[in-house]
Amino acid sequence: MDKSMLGDLDNLPEEDKLKMAAMIDQLQIRDSLRMYNALVERCFNDCVDTFKHKSLQKQEESCVRRCAEKFLKHSMRVGMRFAELNQGAATQD
């Protein structure tokens, strides 16, 4: 999207700014829910492989915990690096 276009947003009446903010909220909710679904799918796939029981076994449960924690830490780190690159703060190696 061109910046000149984004500039036009300042000219929108108050009501439209509210509408835009609501849209952003909605996208963030959808994104969190998708992330949640994707995280469950990943940790289930990596940690659960036997189906002799209906309930999670101890070692499966702790695997899922570590998987989820690790992924969240990873995701935060990626977010920081991504933000740096978006701001042009990246340096070469």
Partner: protein, 88 residues
């Protein structure tokens, strides 16, 4: 988020619709991922028969149950509180 006076404004109503829509999208996506994941884990993919055999059926039941537990467990870790319901 919804109005307290039981007469939601236009913007509130749009948000209620939007939330309900996201909630349903989430449930559909959960169901779809669960279905595909348990098919991969439990069903023989040479398709020699079109029926599910007994072993596949019991694997599916347990897979759904375990997937549900993982959903609740991850939901707790993500901070949706002590109970095992999805974070909405």
């Amino acid at each position: 988020m919804a109005a307290n006076n039981n007469m939601p404004s236009a913007l509130d109503k749009e948000q209620i619709f939007g939330m309900a829509e996201k909630e349903m999208e989430y449930r559909v996506e959960l169901f779809n991922k669960l279905t595909h994941t348990c098919f991969n884990k439990c069903v023989e993919n040479k398709y020699k028969e079109s029926e599910l055999n007994m072993g596949e059926n019991s694997c599916i039941d347990r897979c759904v149950s375990k997937y549900w537990h993982v959903t609740n467990l991850v939901g707790q870790l993500l901070g949706s509180g002590p109970s095992g319901r999805p974070p909405m």
